[in-house]
Every structure is written in C-alpha cells, then in structure tokens.
Symmetry: C2
Subunit: 405 residues, 2 copies
Amino acid sequence: MITKIEGGVCAAKGFTAGGVHCGIRKNRIKKDLSMIVSEVPASAAAVYTTNLVKGAPLLVTKQHLENGLAQAIICNSGNANTCNADGIEIAEKMCALAADKLNISEDDVIVASTGVIGQPLDIAPIAEGMAPLAASCSSCGSADAAEGIMTTDTVKKEIAVSFQLGGKTCRLGGIAKGSGMIHPNMATMLVFLTTDAAISPEMLKKALSTDVASTFNMISIDGDTSTNDMVAVLANGLAGNPRIETEGEDFSAFCSALNSVTVCLCRMIAGDGEGATKLLECRVSGAKDEMTAKTAAKSVICSSLLKAAMFGADANWGRVLCAVGYSGADVDVSKIGVAFESKAGKITVCENGSGVEFSEEYAKKILSESEIDILVSLGEGEASATAWGCDLTYDYVRINGDYRT
Amino acid sequence: MITKIEGGVCAAKGFTAGGVHCGIRKNRIKKDLSMIVSEVPASAAAVYTTNLVKGAPLLVTKQHLENGLAQAIICNSGNANTCNADGIEIAEKMCALAADKLNISEDDVIVASTGVIGQPLDIAPIAEGMAPLAASCSSCGSADAAEGIMTTDTVKKEIAVSFQLGGKTCRLGGIAKGSGMIHPNMATMLVFLTTDAAISPEMLKKALSTDVASTFNMISIDGDTSTNDMVAVLANGLAGNPRIETEGEDFSAFCSALNSVTVCLCRMIAGDGEGATKLLECRVSGAKDEMTAKTAAKSVICSSLLKAAMFGADANWGRVLCAVGYSGADVDVSKIGVAFESKAGKITVCENGSGVEFSEEYAKKILSESEIDILVSLGEGEASATAWGCDLTYDYVRINGDYRT
C-alpha cells in the first residue's frame, strides 16, 4: 500500500531541507542554493549523465559516494560549474563549506550544480550563503529546496509517499528540476530523493539503477543529454525497519515505492519541459521484449515532427509510425496499431500499419488536452514500456534562441 | 577539372525532363508530377531510407533496379504513397503508365512519391497527366522537374558539372527536394542524378553508396528519418568515355564529380530545411578516425539546443561540447576546441575543453550571417568530417504544428 503524503524530501524521518538566494543569480527573487540534510549518516547512491562532458560536481560526488554513505546534499542553480578549469576545486570547496557548517565530513556531502556551462562559478556568494542556508533547513523546507534548484522550470517539483516495510511505516520523497534556465543551456535534470527506510548502500544502488532505466532514462525534452544530470538518493534508516540487505519482499516493496515517486517526478519534469504546453506519454505494448518497447517508445517521444504535431493537436499518426520505423527497434510494421488518448477520450488512427477512418474533429478534441497518451501496439509479444516527453512549441525556440547575455 | 554548368538533370547528353500539375495537389499553381528520361537505357543505382516503414514506391523501385538498368524516373509530390494498403499496386501502375507513354519496359522505370503518408494516392490524375507530362519533357525541363518534386521547399534545387573521363567531356547533374510539405509530414528527401558518363551498374552503385555516406547521410533537418528518402542516379554512357568497369583513375574522377554535385545539393537541402533561416555546416577535424568525426559532426548538427542558439545568433558553445559529449564518439573532452566562422569572420570560443574569453558582440555578428560554419577540433588525429543542418525556428514549429486538414 503506497500512499501519497506531504513533505517532499522532508517527509522521511530525520531529513531537513532549505534554500536561499545567495547571489549566484542576479534575480534576487529566485533562490539559488539548496541543502538537504540527514540527522544521521545515510546509505547513498547516485546515477549520473552518460555525457562524456561531465560537470565537475558529478566527479566530486562520485568520489564521495565510493563508500556508499552521505549525510547532506548541496546544490546551486544559475551555473553548472562545467567546462571550467577550476571546476573540481570549486565543487570540493562547496562540500567543505557545507561540511564545516554542518559539522560532518566533507566526504559525506553530495554536490550538484545546474545552469550555464563554461562560466567560472564564484565561490564567494556560496561561502557567504552557507550560514543562512544551514539556518534555513527545517522539516518544512522541501519546497524551498525545490525552488533553489529550479532554472526555467515553471513549477516546483516535489512528491512523497509512505509505505510499509517489515511492519514499519517508511517514507520516501523527492524533489526535481527539469529543463530550462534563465541563461538557457543544458536540459539539466536533477533529482534528489530521501527515505527513512533502512537499506544497505549496495541494495540502494541496485534499486536506483534499475529504476532509472524505466523512469528518468525514458524522458526526453529535446534529445540533448545534459552534462550535469544526476539522480541521488539518501536512505537514513530512521524508520526502523529491518535493514534491507538482499532481494526479497521488502526490497520489492521498496522498489515499488521508489518507482511511484520517480514516475511522478518524470511526469512533472516532462510536462514542464522548456516551452511545453502538453505532457506526452507514449506507451508501447505488444513488444517481443522490453528493449524493443523502450526503443520504440523513446523514439516516438523524441520526434521533433511528432512533438510539433502534438503542439498543433494534429493527429498525424504517420509521424508515430515513422519514428518507430527509424528507431532501430525490430518490429513488423504491418502489425503496428496507433491510438491517441486523453481526458477527452480515445481514438484509434492506425491498425496493421495502415490508416483507419477517424473523425478529425474528435481527434483534435482529444489532442487539445494538456496530457496526451500515445498508444502504440506492436502485436508481437507481451512486453511494454512507457516514455515521457512534451510538445515542441514556439516558446522552446524562444527560450533557447535567446542570447545568454 | 570540375566545372559548374547549367542544365540540372538535363545537362548530361541524352536526358530530358519535365513537370506538370496533374491534380494530386489542390493548389493548381504548383507542379506535382515530374519525369526524367534517358534516350537510351542507362546504368542505374539508388539508395533508400533505412526506416523500417518504407514508402511503396521504394519497394517497387528496388525491384526494378535489380538488373542495374533504368531509363526513366517518375515522381509525384503531394502524397507519399506510404502506409496505404494499395501502395505497391499504385506505384506499379505509375511505372506502367510512364512506360507505356515512353514505349519502354516498366521494369526500367524508377518511381518515387513525396507528401503526406497514410492517405490513399488516386491514380486517376496521374493517368490523365501522363500525356502532358511526357510532352513537357525537353532538354530545358530540369527546372520544371525540380519544381514538380518540391513540397514546402522554398527554392528549386538543381546543379550540374562537367568533367573529363578518358579524354571525353562528361556531365553530371541533379535535382533534389528537401524537407517540408503543404501537409507537413516527413522530411522526405529525394535526389535524382543523371550523367552521360559510361559506367557499369556495379561501379555506379559503388560510387553512389560511398558518396551518400559522407553527403546525404550527413544532413539533418530535424532528426526524423523519412519513410520515402531516395537518391537515384542514371548513367547513360552517351559521353562516349571508356566505360568504367573497375576502380582506378577514371572511377576516382567520376566520384569527385559526383561528390561536387551531391555536396552542393546537401547544402541546398540543409539551407532550405523547414523553417530554416540559416545553413549550418559542422566541420570536425583532428579526429582519430572518420567514424568518430562523422558521429561528432552529426550530433552537433542534430542538437535542438544548438539549432535554437544558432537561430538566436547566440555563441553558446557549451551546446556544441555537450552534443559531442553525448554523441557516442570516443573523444578526449580536454582536447576539444570550438570556433564559429561565417562571411563576417571567425572566432574561437573554446580551447582544450574550456571556454576562452571572446567578444560577444563579434560572435553575434558572425552568427547573424545566413551560413554558419561550426568548427570542432578534437586534437587526436588526422580524420575529419562535415555535416549539414539548419537552425530551429518558430517557423519549423508553425509548419509542423499546423493541422493537416
């Protein structure tokens, strides 16, 4: 039984969070420095961008997580601290400043940055902001932390659930930032998760790695893989459940809770993609294996042509078929079916690889909603997959065509 | 010595071409049916989309080219004849109608279609249009044929060159259509080439296959691989050169001439991409091998973020580095250099993977030109590659967000 609860990253026992404006951004209204702290050292795991160009904070975090433990997360927005000669040094300083203030080891700090790349990150405002930041941390601070990591995101993204493990109530929550910046640059995605479940670092890493393959790795806003993507999770064990050390019922329950949180965050991130007016969810079914389903679903969600058609509420199903066709997935085109679904209804537009008669008017009504499901059936097996994206709009071009200066 | 000449697909001896409006499109001003004819049977070769969803005309053409010979090309715009239950039958009828009118074998006809997919193609207007179409064919008809295959292309694309083979003057010309449709659908690309050089079907196929790998396969308008892409070449031998049967000096000369034509057409297609205001050419040098250079160059040209930045004349070089980083190319990030160049000058923006100081004003001036070169040096070897694309603009979204109906 997984239940949605309030509190975001502070929902789990022993976690506090906060966010302040320290001056990295010129816009003084927007917070630009966030912190999440666990009362006690926690099992910790993270996954990172596969881009060969990696932000300096990722390299530092990776090192700090070698022992599978962490106690705090520090993250700034407004500057990605990437492709800077002094990047590593600055990221390490951020950890040291946080560790000093919290009286923990700097090896137990996870550091992340998001914003424009290739511009030196000044440590001064961060150093000055550390005391007010630490003071701002409280069990009600999730929303402030969520704001501090936002760039051109238009909504804060936080979620939490409660669930049972070994007779104990556990909580798992998260905050995320999606794509977009004031100085637009990378569609950087950051997700920070906290839980009071007791779980070993190894099993936590296993749960996270498995989960991202079908959640965050199935989002695409614009096909550009950021240099700074990171998903990190802290599990401090304060729920008092029997610590998860192996696979089994408890691990499965933990993974389900994790998945319920990550899927929510995925939908929030995709629906708030740069310039987006619509959340697109592509569900591929009837695939001969999961990889085929994933490949096809992600290709559909990445198609600029389809994304533009969805913006225009145009039931241009040929673009769905085209995207499946070039995806590299091994499919039998003559068996493919396509339907569009939303709150307004569901309409089948293609069967057995060929078009079927449908009402353009009804299709337009369905596609004018803000959440659209694109249903693709491959007719070859039992495997399925889901991918999330958004429409391609004038605002995407406006946001990303703007001068940085 | 390769010299630009007039005449497009009719520049080579023994080729005529024409185009008419037959009624597939409602817009009567725009020609929608084109034909190219050789006086004598010609060596013929073609390459096709790798999309698993393939237009019916491609399947018919593939069959007709099994013997390496053809004498005519028939092509309509306004309807892709793809994902239709009767597609093959209709494509075969188009060949039969053309063959009958030209008094040649229908196996010697190459057929192509471009336009919206999933809508049945009515053979009636094509049947009626065949007589006026054949009558329109002349040695001055290249421009008409180029118009008849256009969709939302804004300029006709034709080019021809003369060159020497075995003491004989040969000619090679082509027409092309790029991306965009009145009912926007696929970024279908069609290229038809003619030459009077004598060359065996085998060597012609070899020349074409080799060439497309570094020309047409290095274009991207929007990352969507069409279902109907085709590049076809006819070589009728009327120049009287010693027939090319093997590799050697003549084959190299032929390949050079072919490349000079295809590169011109690539630039025309990329510069006239849907909604494009700028032609982008990405030249990657210093790669350890050609595949690395190609992978990096194509990734840069495909980045929506970079394309939007180029639209905004924003020297956002981080997006170039990011795209190289996620391309899958094996590169050493710390050695990468980036520069932007145009008629207005050249500016270096990144060296050794980190930013260098540069004048934003000067960069903006350079990026405000209509043809931008993005120069990426990898500092690891001697291999290089070029890719072509265009900027991402409001008009791309407008064109592709429009309703089909």
